[in-house]
C-alpha cells in the first residue's frame, strides 16, 4: 500500500505535462497543417521537413536536446518546462498530420459550395470545412491524446517527477522490483479509461448530429 501513495505523487506531473503538451500541439499543429496543405512550395516544403524531423527523432533524444542543450545555454528551462515543450512540439507534428487528413476527408464540394456563395477562404475554413474536419479528426486526435498520457513517461528521463519517476524511485528505495510498476500500470489504466470513454461518447454524439 505504501507503494500506492508513493507512485500517486507522480499523477499531477504526468497530467500536467500531458495537458500542456497537448495544448501546445493542438495550437501549433494547426498552422503546420495549413502550411503542409498549401500549394505554395515555400510553405509546404518547410512544413513537411519540420514534421518529419519532429517525428523522426525519438522523444527522449528531443528531451535531452531541449533540456541539456537549449535549456542550459540560451534560456533556463526546468525539467517540467523542457518536457512539456519537447512533447508539445512532437505533438504538433502528429496533430498536424491528423488535422491534415481531417481536412482532406472533407469533400471538395464543400469548398466549392462555400466559394459559390461568396464566402471568403477564411470563412469557408472556419465556418464550413474546419468544423467538419474536426469531427473527422476527433477519433484520431483522442487516440493520440491517450497515447501521449502513457508516452509522457519519457519525461522521467530528464527528472520530471511523474508516475514512472516515482515508481522508479520507490523501487530503488524499497527494493521492491515489481510492485511499484504494477501500481504505475494500474494508475495509467485508471487515468486512460475515462478519457477513452469520453472521446467515444463525444464522437458518437457528433456523428449522430450530422450523420450523412
Amino acid at each position: 500500500m505504501e507503494h500506492v501513495s508513493a507512485v500517486l505523487l507522480g499523477v499531477p506531473y504526468t497530467l500536467l505535462v500531458t495537458v500542456v503538451a497537448l495544448a501546445i500541439g493542438a495550437v501549433l499543429g494547426l498552422p503546420l497543417a495549413l502550411a503542409r496543405r498549401s500549394p505554395l512550395a515555400v510553405l509546404n516544403v518547410p512544413a513537411r521537413v519540420v514534421i518529419d524531423v519532429l517525428r523522426g527523432i525519438p522523444p527522449v533524444v528531443w528531451l535531452f536536446i531541449i533540456f541539456f542543450g537549449i535549456g542550459n545555454q540560451f534560456v533556463t528551462l526546468d525539467p517540467i518546462q523542457a518536457g512539456s515543450l519537447g512533447l508539445g512540439l512532437i505533438s504538433a507534428a502528429y496533430l498536424a498530420e491528423i488535422y491534415r487528413s481531417g481536412l482532406g476527408a472533407v469533400h471538395s464540394g464543400q469548398w466549392e459550395a462555400s466559394s459559390a456563395l461568396g464566402l471568403s477562404r477564411t470563412d469557408s475554413m472556419v465556418r464550413v470545412v474546419g468544423p467538419q474536419a474536426f469531427r473527422v479528426a476527433l477519433p484520431a486526435a483522442s487516440t493520440y491524446a491517450i497515447g501521449l498520457l502513457k508516452d509522457s513517461s519519457v519525461v522521467s528521463a530528464i527528472g520530471v517527477a511523474d508516475i514512472v519517476f516515482q515508481a522508479t524511485g520507490d523501487s530503488r528505495a524499497t527494493g521492491a522490483a515489481l510492485a511499484p510498476f504494477l501500481v504505475a500500470a494500474a494508475i495509467y489504466i485508471l487515468l486512460g479509461t475515462p478519457l477513452a470513454i469520453a472521446s467515444r461518447r463525444m464522437d458518437s454524439r457528433l456523428r449522430m448530429r450530422v450523420a450523412r
Binding site: G109, G118, L119, S120, Q132
Partner: protein, 282 residues
C-alpha cells in the same frame, strides 16, 4: 417577391398554366427584351493539352431561361464554373450583372467574390453543409457575405424555405432530408444571396426520376417568377417546356442553339441530332 423583374410577362403562382399554353415565339420575344445579365466573350479554358472551352460566346438576357444540353465531357460544367469563377478562364471575358472579369488580367479575390454572389450555383451533388441545420445552411452566407443580422437572415431564409415548401425542415440537419429536399434547400440557399442569375449543373442527375420532378417543379416556379437561369440538364421535357432557348454544347463549343421545340425536334447539326436522339429515345 423581390426577384420578380418582369411582372407584366411573368405573373405569380397561376403562371404555370399561362406558360403551358403560351406560344414559344411569344416567350422568345419577351426574353430578348432584357439587357444581358450574363455575357461571355471568347471564353476559353484548357487543362494541359485538353481544350475544354474554345472561344465560347454566350449572352443571356434578364429573365431568360437557357437550357444547356450536350454529351458528357462537352465542357458544360466548366462553362458554368467559369461564369462564377470557380474556374478561372484562360482567355475571354465574363460579365455578370455589372461585374466584368477579363481573363487576361489578374482577378482580385474581392472581385471574384463579388461576381460569385451575383451568380447562384446549384450543384448536382447538392453540397449542403452537413454540420449546420437547414436554416443555418441558408442563413450563413447572408450574414457573412451580405452582412445581414442573424434575425434578418433567418427571416429571409424562412421565406425562401417556404417557397421551396420545406419550412418545416428548418431546424433539422440536412441528412434528415431526402435528396430532392436537399436539392430544394440548396436552391433556397443560393437564392438567399439575391443572385441576378441562377446556374444549375445537372440538378436532378443524382436523383430518382420521381424525386427529380419535385426539384424541377421548384425550378419551373423560379422561372415563372422571372429569374434568369442557365440550366445544364438532360431533362428534355424541362428544356422544351420551361426554357426560352436550348443551347447544345459539344467538344468545348456551342454547336447549335435556338427556340426549344426547334432545336429538340429538328436539330440541324449532326452531333446534336445524335445526342438528342440518344436522350429523347430512351
Amino acid at each position: 417577391m423581390e426577384i420578380v423583374r418582369d411582372p407584366q410577362t411573368r405573373t405569380g403562382s397561376d403562371a404555370v398554366d399561362v406558360r403551358a399554353s403560351a406560344q414559344p415565339t411569344d416567350r422568345l420575344e419577351v426574353s430578348r427584351k432584357g439587357p444581358p445579365v450574363v455575357s461571355l466573350k471568347g471564353l476559353s479554358k484548357h487543362y494541359g493539352e485538353n481544350v475544354v472551352l474554345d472561344k465560347v460566346d454566350l449572352d443571356v438576357s434578364a429573365g431568360e431561361v437557357v437550357a444547356m444540353v450536350g454529351p458528357s465531357g462537352a465542357g458544360k460544367s466548366t462553362l458554368l464554373r467559369c461564369i462564377n469563377l470557380l474556374e478561372v478562364p484562360d482567355a475571354g471575358t465574363v460579365t455578370v450583372g455589372d461585374q466584368c472579369v477579363d481573363a487576361g488580367k489578374e482577378v482580385s479575390a474581392k472581385d471574384a467574390m463579388r461576381l460569385r454572389r451575383t451568380a447562384g450555383m446549384v450543384f448536382q451533388s447538392f453540397n449542403l453543409f452537413p454540420h449546420l441545420t437547414v436554416l443555418r445552411n441558408v442563413s450563413l452566407a447572408q450574414e457573412r457575405v451580405l452582412g445581414r443580422s442573424r434575425a434578418e437572415a433567418d427571416a429571409r431564409s424562412m421565406e425562401l424555405l417556404e417557397r421551396v415548401h420545406l419550412a418545416h425542415k428548418a431546424d433539422t440537419y440536412p441528412a434528415r432530408s431526402s435528396g430532392g429536399q436537399q436539392q430544394r434547400i440548396a436552391i433556397a440557399r443560393a437564392l438567399a444571396m439575391d443572385p441576378q442569375v441562377m446556374l444549375f449543373d445537372e440538378p436532378t442527375s443524382a436523383l430518382d426520376p420521381e424525386v427529380g420532378l419535385e426539384v424541377l417543379a421548384v425550378m419551373r416556379e423560379l422561372a415563372e417568377s422571372g429569374m434568369t437561369m442557365i440550366v445544364v440538364t438532360h431533362e428534355i421535357p424541362f428544356a422544351r417546356d420551361v426554357s426560352d432557348r436550348v443551347v447544345v454544347m459539344a467538344d468545348g463549343g456551342i454547336i447549335e442553339q435556338g427556340e426549344p421545340h426547334q432545336v429538340i425536334n429538328n436539330p440541324q447539326h449532326e452531333r446534336s441530332q445524335r445526342f438528342l436522339r440518344a436522350v429523347t429515345e430512351r
